[in-house]
């Protein structure tokens, strides 16, 4: 029911369940309630889904307002489609713990890598700084 056929608009996506990936890597799932011309999004009954390996956990977050510039992708979730994923849902504490471990491991490897590079006189700037130049 596109208001302006021939164009892309978020109007049709209102009140539907969506998944949005943000620039900081978070994944939010919620009902898209409102938009504006900058694609700022208002999510209702939002759930932040954390994935670690094959496990995932949902953290209920309530209402989210996402600034348009931070959206990487946004897609509608088809609730009818059977969900036959290999992913296994776990509790919040567990997933947070898993995430923490994952981050820790990553940091360790990163540290080692930086050290090795430093020894060789090289340096690679971190990606998260680059974004903000």
């Amino acid at each position: 029911m596109n208001y302006v056929p021939g164009t892309a608009s978020l109007i049709d996506d209102i009140d539907k369940k969506h998944l949005v990936l943000l620039r900081d890597g978070r994944t939010l799932i919620g009902f898209l309630r409102s938009i504006d011309q900058f694609a700022n999004l208002v999510f209702h009954q939002t759930v932040e889904r954390i994935h670690v390996g094959k496990k995932f956990g949902d953290i209920p977050r309530g209402i989210f307002i996402v600034r348009g510039e931070n959206v990487v992708l946004l897609g509608e979730i088809d609730v009818d489609k059977p969900c036959d994923t290999v992913l296994q849902q776990v509790s919040i504490e567990e997933i947070l713990e898993e995430q923490r471990l994952q981050q820790q491991a990553k940091q360790e490897t990163e540290k080692v890598k930086m050290q090795v590079l430093k020894d060789r006189g090289l340096s690679i700037p971190k990606a998260d700084n680059l974004d903000e130049y």
């Binding site: 029911m1 056929p5 021939g6 164009t7 608009s9 009140d15 309630r33 011309q37 209702h44």
Partner: protein
Amino acid sequence: MFRFQSLDDDCTLEEEDEGQVEEEDEIDQFNDDTFGAGAIDDDWQEEHKRLAGLDENVGLGAGGGGGGVMGRESDLGGAEDITSTRLSTSAGRHPLPSSLPSLNFSSSSVLPPQDVEDRGGGGGDLAESLARLILEADPAIAGVGATERPGQSLSSTGSSISALHGLERPTVLPQLSSIPHPTHSHQAHHPQHQLPPGPSTLGPPSGPPPPSSMLSYQQQQHLLHRGSAPIGQINSHSIWESNMGFGPVSVTPALTTHMEDSPLMSIIKEVGLPKLPPHGRNDEGRDLSERVPPPRSSSPVIGSPPVRAVPIGTPPKQPMSHSLNHQTHHPTAVHVRAPVQHRYPPPFPERLSPNTLLNIANSPLCRNPFPPGVGPVLSQIKRAQLLSSQVAGFARGGPAPPLLPGGGGFRPFFGGPPPPHSHRMGPMPPHGPPNHTPPIRHNTTHLHPQHRRMLTQRMQSRGGDRSRTGGDRRSRDPYSNLMTQKEKEWVTKIQMMQLQSTDPYLDDYYYQNYYEKMEKRQERERDSSKKEHTTKLITPQVAKVEHTYRPVQFAGSLGKLTVSSVNNPRKMIDAVVTTRTDDEEKRDKQVWNKRRQILYTVEKMYSLLLEVQDFEKRFVQAPEEDREALLEQHKTNTVQLCNSLREKEWDDRVSDEQCVMIMSVRKGKRLISRLLPLLASPQSSAIVMAIARNLPALAKKDKQDQVLCWLVEPVSTVIQSLSSSALTDLLQELQGSDGQLVTVLQNKFGVTLLYLILSEGEKMQSSDPNCQLMDDNRWTELVFSVTRELLSVPSSSLSAPLFTPTNLLSLFSRYVDRQRLELLQNKLQITALSR
């Protein structure tokens, strides 16, 4: 500022007496010790005397001096005169002298001994004496002694007191008829702040005071100050001034009962505590006040944008009708079907907000704008015309009608039943979900029909799939439709606004081209029987409106407008161009001017060229009637192009000089390379000749850019079309004078050109043995000289060509012997298969 000065030990303000000058501003008006329960008044008369003495010592000032003189003289007559004059000048209204002499008399009779005592040389102020007299005499005033102001030099209040006399006359006089005279100057004396001289500041009395004879002092004061409220904040130190802004906590009727209280207390009760400035206004404005931009300080009506209560672009909060009517000054009904009365267009059409657009779009365009007779095929121009005629009532020129064709192109708001003529729209989705509103008919006329078809197909399929599930779920979702229809429309409007275009070919080139290609493809695929698919592409188009800004100038005025605003800025600097007449600069300038001239010519030719090249596309697009016009225009353009290369107006030959000039610029070379294919044969060959003739010069100029090589392709095309004699001529030109060939060979393009010519000649010879190439010996000679040159020129200076034609070898084999042939072969690296 009033201070309570008391000699009592328990008064803590004594120290303030000394520091009074600097602390005047800092008095704590709510300090209990000053005015409240802690303030104790004692025998104010003694206190007053003491203070008077102090004041005298501090300094009397002019008024005091005069008064002092008077006092010293204790010349009643003189004093009387002076005072009366003083008073009359200040009061200017009431017959004072009648009362004053009596005052004087009494004061002078009573006071002189005191005068002498207290003030020695100075003070003897009449005012003071009066004051004292009154203070002594009037019991009613007894309680108010606390409000004396020691800090203020009493003498210096001479003038002020006289002023006060005058001031208080209006209020006081009516009452004073019943009050003994002595109260006069007490009244005068009492508010010892610096009321501005002149009774004019005292407005008319606030109202007829109650006629009770024994009007209490407080009440009088109250009235007085009410009356003098307009004086406002004269002196920041005085509480009375600040009291002006206060609403009195009025207990006036009961004042008499308070007389026993601390006088200050009663005063406070009477005038009230200060409170915040009245904010009654703010409550209703609070909704919008956060959004209101600060009021413009200087906002002349000329050209200022309307002050909006809510900034442009705010999403609609209230029902559209309200907001539109209030905010955009459009009195149009929002109801979709209602006709529109456009009254005053907003003065700033360029910045049409979504709300305005909605307004425009909704009103005339919600009914089908096109009369029934109009077929589905309309050119953009036609649509624009129709739509603009529809809204001719719209009082404004420029942007609104041009906007409307765009508005006609997009009409996303369909609250009501579909418009009567639905043939405009694409095929309706036949089975809308049951709980939907009647299916929305989109205006897809702005889209390409192919596009439209695809869309409707998509929509149908989607609608079919989702109708069962989506609709049910949506009806059960209690949070649905948080975003109202209006808001959705508003967002859509903004998005559509961004799509408005004055030149779709410029802005949306790829869309236009893509659908064009598709159309062509379809035409090719389909058989010619199906003619209905020759519909034209229609896009929303906003006419280009030229807004040249001309600053407002008033005829006959000296200088510039002093009034300027955002929309009519003032021209600040009159920049006048003056040419410098220095000789060297002249020369330089000439050179520059020439270059500029060349560039200008190149630009003009380029635009012509582009138009010519785009002609075909436009031709296909244009409807039948316009085609001839376009054709004509095309011819004119081409002719113009050719003419621009001419030497003189009447001479049809290609101007060498012109060509060279153009070619000296990089862009010019590019231009020529694009132009050559378009020109007629004689002209193009002439150009090629010119190029060949001037190659050294061109090559020199091209050293940096190396752009000449762009010319290879078009030149080769031309060469291939040359006749043999022309070819020979060309070769001759290329060789030109002595040494030219050397330069030519040094340049890549030159070499390529040479090869091209030779190859063409060879082709001619080999294909047609009877060709005229060999008729005269020119060709042979030329080739000989070429070969000679080629052999003699050192390899290093020989530039590599862009490509080497294959038949060079055969060419050379005709003319040179085997040895030389081999040499040539090695040098030029031409083999039988070289490329």
